[in-house]
Symmetry: C2
Subunit: 371 residues, 2 copies
């Protein structure tokens, strides 16, 4: 942890939604083994493990709850030393509001009106400032705000949504907190540059912190059917009726992202705070992003895995993932990206990294077993 | 065979030297499995098999002799339906003069002064005219010339040596035969272009046809130690003394290519003929050359192997060898070359194909087991 060891924040609980289709980093990630299950930074910890490592000191040793699909239960259990109660399994994905709302409602049943914060399992965070930002977000949340952590943009990215900061809130325990003036969808490049020029915009990393009853209250008001379904499931969760209620209620829950369900409408009402943060963040949305997370060797070559399996000549900027146990030799292709796995190899370059979905679609038609 | 089925040429015997280090097409070819053992054109026949297919109708069903190293004996036997006498195994490579000279001397012992022709096992020949060119070369050889088949150049290649044609020889059974005015080493590009502008130069593909006693006579005069050693080995070949004589004589034989040993000095004396040929020829010297031998699909993508294992998007000119049984996906890299094998994958492009030896050297230092 880059920060000095923080003390756990009182009555704070961290929710880690661990989902995703696993296709943007194909063939490294797969539907059966999405991004969060992989060590993408060469640190020896998977993204999921690193997320829990980061949150456990803030939420306390039993304060982290992971929400994932039943298909990933075994893999998650193998990677984490979780108490049985700390793993919530969804029968089927119902988008982020259902996942986070389920965990919030279960925690509210168990512990009352704790402060919950949601942090995706497949993001990479480095540098300093995470613990301080979360502490301020928790403090702002205690006063009734839905609070997000705004990421300092490193450039006019078109891959992320943005949060616009409004006036300072003057909260003693959250000195950096401002009112969130609004959320935006992913902008085009010119719009993104204009955002950054104002100094008012940060990236929306989907980190939301709120009192459980504040979050559920907004949900009851804005999406009552979803709220009622989640409350019913939560009431049955720690009882013998869980399976029965889940199988009856879950399939009918609306699919909606927490950004659309709560963050945007509540921000429009003035109920969202933003704590700008200074740590570095990446959602590892494609293989070019992956390259940016790996250190380059003296020849400008990046490897994720055993460097003895990589031979790269005249290939500055190359990124190689030797994940198939075989030697990968690259000659004369700057910025090439090679992802080798036991049953598929992808060869592209950084400029085309965002188009990998087209490859995935072609593979889906021909060899769905490889997705 | 593109030509109409030819009749065997009387007393003609074909010699197929099958050797090579196996590194220029690494990782497809290996030291243990050089180029000639592979199907590089997607026809279902290896280069060695195709070479014998081409020669058997001209030399007769028992008229083809293969010379190879002991290390490749099992692979060659598995690929060819050879009579035991038709496979000559060298204890160690001693360059092309020793290989061709050994086969010539053994054939002379067995059959007297037959006409022999040497044809490398790892070249690709397509189009028409091979049988006619060999027939004319054999006819010219019967009159006492060492005769080579000159390949019509398709461009000013710097990868091949050239043969310069002199005056027509006026031979009734070899109407295209001319005196060979000389052989050249691989030229630079400007020199190669100047050669082609004269209309007098063809590529030297190392095809040499001569009466056995003519070839051995030149060898006795120009390289008497090599000649005497080969004659001694040949006299013992079909006797119980073969192993004893081979182990005593072979290690001391001079290493020299037939071009330097005979073709160049005899051409300077006026004793070499050249028959210009119109068939297409390629020595598959690198992966770019390999690409040129494969048909392109509608997207300009070439595959050697199962096309169902190749996904190529925005990669016109790409060449993919899916030799590891895994899916190979290529995105956005025109002219990329991907050679996938079970234990190594090479990623380069056509422009860098001739530099693969640098990769091989790097692999030799680190993982010689992969060469």
């Amino acid at each position: 942890m880059p920060d000095s060891p923080p003390a756990p924040l009182p009555s704070f609980r961290a929710i880690v939604p661990a989902g995703g289709a696993g296709t943007r980093l194909w063939p490294l990630s797969r539907a059966g083994a999405p991004k969060f299950l992989h060590d993408l930074t060469g640190t020896g910890r998977t993204l999921l493990q690193a997320t829990v490592d980061r949150l456990a000191p803030l939420a306390g040793p039993d304060g982290v709850v992971v929400v994932t699909g039943e298909a990933h239960a075994a893999a998650v259990r193998a990677q984490l030393d979780l108490a049985p109660d700390a793993l919530l399994l969804e029968p089927a994905p119902r988008d982020s509001m259902a996942a986070i709302g389920l965990a919030t409602a279960v925690l509210a049943e168990r512990e009352g009106d704790v402060v919950v914060g949601s942090f995706a399992a497949d993001h990479v965070i480095t540098g300093e400032g995470f613990a301080d930002a979360v502490a301020q977000a928790v403090a702002a949340a205690r006063t009734g705000y839905v609070t997000t952590v705004g990421i300092a943009a490193t450039g006019p990215s078109t891959a992320f949504g943005y949060v616009r900061s409004g006036e300072p809130l003057g909260l003693p325990d959250a000195p950096d907190a401002r009112r969130a003036a609004g959320f935006t969808e992913k902008p085009d490049a010119a719009t993104a540059a204009a955002y950054l020029a104002t100094g008012e915009y940060t990236w929306n990393a989907g980190m939301f912190v709120a009192r459980a009853e504040v979050l559920l209250g907004h949900l009851a008001r804005l999406h009552p059917a979803l709220h009622d379904g989640l409350r019913e499931v939560a009431a049955a969760w720690d009882t013998p009726r869980r399976a029965e209620v889940l199988s009856r209620v879950w399939p009918g829950l609306p699919r909606i992202a927490i950004d659309h369900a709560i963050a945007e409408p509540v921000a429009a009402e003035g109920g969202v705070a933003v704590v700008p943060a200074r740590f570095a963040w990446d959602d590892v949305g494609d293989v070019a992003s992956l390259a940016g997370l790996l250190p380059a060797d003296a020849d400008g070559v990046r490897a994720l895995g055993d460097p003895d399996l990589v031979v790269a000549l005249r290939a500055a900027g190359a990124t190689v993932v030797p994940g198939g146990g075989r030697l990968v030799a690259v000659l004369g292709l700057p910025d090439v990206v090679v992802v080798d796995t036991p049953d598929a190899v992808l060869v592209t370059d950084r400029a085309h990294a965002q188009e990998v979905r087209a490859v995935v679609e072609a593979v889906r038609e021909r060899r769905p077993d490889l997705l």
